[in-house]
Amino acid sequence: MSGMRLLDGSEAIVEAAIMAGLRFYAGYPIAPATELLEYMAEKLPSVGGVCVNADTEIEAVNMALGAAQVGARAATGSCGQGLALKQEAIAEAALNETPLVVFNMARNQQDYFQATRGGGWGDYHTVTYAPKDLHEAVELTHVAFHVADKYRVPVIFMGDNLLARTQMGTSLPVPELEKLPAKDWALDGTMGGTGASRWIWTFGGGKANRPGVGPDGYWRQIAEKFQRIARDEMRHEQCFCEDAETVVVAFGSAGKFVEHVVRELRKEGMKIGFFRPITLWPFPADALDAATRDAKNILVFELNAGQMIDDVRLSVEGRRRIAAIGGVSFDDSGLNLGPLLDADIIRERILAQLSGQPLRQLPYTGMGAYL
């Protein structure tokens, strides 16, 4: 196919990010985000960009923060364990209005609370995109940089090892996005010596000749901005929900598997639907509430001990019965999604839950004998 390339998810994301204008990336190697760093190091210099293999996760995120504050499209990346270390800088970016994209090539789905609740201080959220596959990842990479700049906020892009390493043919399409104004806030040095030099800080200060709004006014403005984002940037996907008695909710790669199973069960005549939040924050609560209005059961499949299920509960506020059918599941290395992410097992769990049977527990995948 002309113009098609066979790329793995990491390569495709790097290509899309550079097409979106990314010019600075700093990261620290960690599976399964290492390939992202490697491709960034390979590709960024050829477009005049910079990639730094930082000494620590914290250095990496702060380098990216600095690059973003001078006006460049900048990003950092890791897996959820690395993002744990980056939390202070992510909160800082939210409160000092720095557009920063953070790639989380997650080892699992235990990163949901971290992404949607955050670990830093302040009334902020991180817009979080969770693509189901490479094609959506390419689109959402563009969207992530766009939304970060549009609102001057940190944005998390949450992939996983399946996305990072699965190769697909792609033409790397560029989505149509509105044109954004120039960054008249960037600390690019152009205002030095004019008496109107710019600064960025986290509590609305100013100078004697150009006072700021102060902490109360500033943090209220920040909070209002996140309400605006919550209203305008929600994304989700659903199918067969109109007449569904049961709706299964899942996100990311797991969403793709669940959709596959739901389509099969539909073919067999079952009244079942599928709902997938694409933005984990803002969570598409109203859409989920509407999609499940006539459903008797909501099943939540996520590869963790139950995190997104809290947002599902908040969305329907006790009006529907909700059950978790996922669970913690890693492969024997502890670095990748585990055996629960399997179409047959998901199907078995949906049917077991609906017939009141206990969910079959899988044996542990590894022995843990490393020493």
Partner: protein, 197 residues
């Protein structure tokens, strides 16, 4: 409508390269593809599995394939990762020295002397390429020239000297299947529809 293939062997046999060559060739012929490796941390040895999906439309298959109807076995070691996921009556191209070690699950096994053909081409290590040629001739999933181009495209500059050997191995694999009178005896599922269009 999608062709789903497992390739199974031992790390170092060229399993991942085999999968990528097929996928890239299919892509160059205008089809949609997905390629997904399942392998451990070894450079050589250890289980190596790759799944290839080819279709006329954007791929719907899951990145961890639950099942497939086609497999290539370069080794019988680690077959347990693939065998149970094959649908009844699957086509298996098996290296002839390992074919007898595969469990008899009622699949259709085609024995391919890939190691002999690779050696004949000039390098035993090109046996995986001979297997792609045989697969292409049996299923029509991709063309021989597309395979040769895809193989050449992937060779880094310091390995260009192997291009000719690999191309020869691909052609020998195809010729072996033709010699058995088995060309296109297991056509890829999308061929009939494409022919009708």
């Amino acid at each position: 409508m999608e062709l789903e293939l497992f390739v199974s062997g031992i790390g170092g046999q060229g399993v991942q390269l085999l999968g990528k060559t097929l996928a890239l060739a299919a892509l160059r012929e205008g089809r949609h593809v997905m390629l997904s490796g399942e392998f451990g941390g070894h450079m050589r040895g250890g289980s190596s599995v790759v799944t290839v999906v080819v279709g006329p439309e954007p791929i719907r298959a899951l990145p961890k394939l639950p099942s497939a109807g086609t497999a290539i076995a370069l080794s019988h070691s680690y077959w347990e990762k693939v065998g149970p996921r094959l649908r009844p009556g699957s086509l298996i191209l098996a290296e002839e020295t390992v074919a007898d070690d595969l469990p008899d699950d009622g699949h259709r096994i085609v024995r391919v002397p890939a190691i002999t053909l690779g050696t004949e081409a000039g390098n035993r290590l090109s046996s995986a390429m001979a297997m792609t040629g045989a697969f292409s001739e049996l299923t029509g999933a991709v063309g021989i020239q597309a395979l040769i181009d895809a193989m050449t495209e992937q060779l880094p500059s310091y390995r260009r000297q192997h291009a000719e050997t690999n191309a020869k191995a691909i052609r020998l694999g195809a010729a072996f299947v033709r010699g058995q009178g088995a060309a296109l005896s297991y056509p890829a599922p999308y061929l009939a529809r494409e022919a009708a269009e």
